[in-house]
């Protein structure tokens, strides 16, 4: 351990603001891109299912129409 106390670790020899700002922004940015990718994945899967159900409904409606005429 390079630092004598936890306070010294946070202070980073006076450069604490810059160091923690950099690390914070970096990991937040990485987290955002990762989470966004996963959310998009779920969204796409849902879209696939919805589209499929819609097609099935259209098919059913057509069949009913044909049967009635």
């Amino acid at each position: 351990m390079q630092f004598e106390s936890f306070a010294a670790f946070i202070n980073m020899g006076g450069y604490g603001f810059y160091v923690w700002l950099s690390f914070g922004v970096t990991f937040v940015a990485m987290g955002i891109i990762a989470i966004q990718s996963f959310i998009k994945h779920r969204h796409l899967l849902k879209q696939v299912v919805v589209e499929q159900e819609r097609k099935a409904r259209i098919k059913k409606a057509r069949k009913q129409q044909q049967a009635s005429t």
């Binding site: 390079q2 020899g13 810059y18 922004v25 970096t26 891109i33 996963f38 899967l45």
Partner: protein, 263 residues
């Protein structure tokens, strides 16, 4: 020699490959990033000139190197797509673009936060910072061009051409330090035989570099799967897969709710 690669040109096989690789990438990335960051922040010795502010190097240098590396990887993917007519190559190219842009942003931001205490200004028009900014513009151009086309097949090809044109800029970025002699210090770890950095400082840097690389790989696998699902929406295998996965997550959610209610 490259025959074993060809099955992965099929989207289904590529999707499966991503699924298998993904957990390893995530686990490796998490492990390397936590070890490298903690080591770099708490245990690496202080720099005698820059004090503790030099610890930004542990994210600045990996993101800067990999922002260029990702662009080169994109260009290679585009070239593969052109030569062998692989659709998956274009898809992986566009899957990498946003994460490469994020890496470039991180390199720029940490560079600015490092420059403020060292040079006294958030932004200096120094060669490397400037070329990193140009790299960000190039990424944005590729993403914007891809987004402008309705037909995603055509979009992939067009964005591929632009990625290849932009890759000409990469050597300019790399040699800019020699070309325009400026404030920025010289490269730190490219000289492996005679490194200008102490080994106990270098190790965490290399571990973090690997961690960033694995993280890029992990996000790319997720985004490549997204891209495949988006383009193959009407194929039966995607439809069964979507149903299965959604059903799985719903089951898991229901199980979780039962547990909390039981408690």
């Amino acid at each position: 020699m490259w025959k074993w690669l060809h099955p992965y040109a099929k989207t289904e096989r590529a999707y499966q490959l991503c699924l298998t690789l993904q957990p390893w990438f995530w686990a490796g990335a998490l492990l390397c990033l936590s070890i490298g960051t903690v080591w770099g922040l708490a245990f690496a010795p202080q720099d005698y000139q820059q004090g503790d502010s030099f610890r930004i190097i542990y994210i600045h240098v990996p993101s800067a190197i990999l922002s260029m590396g990702t662009y080169v990887a994109m260009a290679i993917a585009a070239l593969v797509g052109m030569v062998w007519q692989w659709r998956t190559a274009y898809m992986s190219m566009i899957a990498m673009a946003p994460i490469g842009a994020v890496m470039t942003f991180i390199a720029l931001f940490t560079g600015a936060a490092w420059g403020k205490p060292m040079w006294g200004a958030w932004w200096v028009w120094d060669a490397r910072l400037t070329s990193e900014l140009i790299l960000l513009f190039l990424y944005m151009g590729v993403i914007a061009l891809y987004g402008a086309f309705e037909d995603k097949q055509q979009a992939g090809k067009a964005a591929g051409v632009m990625a290849l044109v932009g890759v000409v800029n990469i050597p300019i970025i790399h040699y800019s330090v020699e070309w325009w002699n400026t404030l920025h210090q010289g490269a730190t770890i490219s000289k492996f035989d005679n490194p200008s950095i102490a080994p106990e400082m270098l190790w965490p840097l290399l571990i973090n570099l690997l961690g960033f690389a694995l993280f890029i790989g992990a996000v790319t696998t997720v985004r490549l799967r997204n891209e495949i699902v988006l383009r193959e929406m009407h194929r039966p295998w995607v439809q069964t897969l979507a149903k299965e996965q959604l059903a799985n997550t719903q089951q898991r959610r229901a199980a979780n709710q039962n547990m909390t209610e039981g408690n």
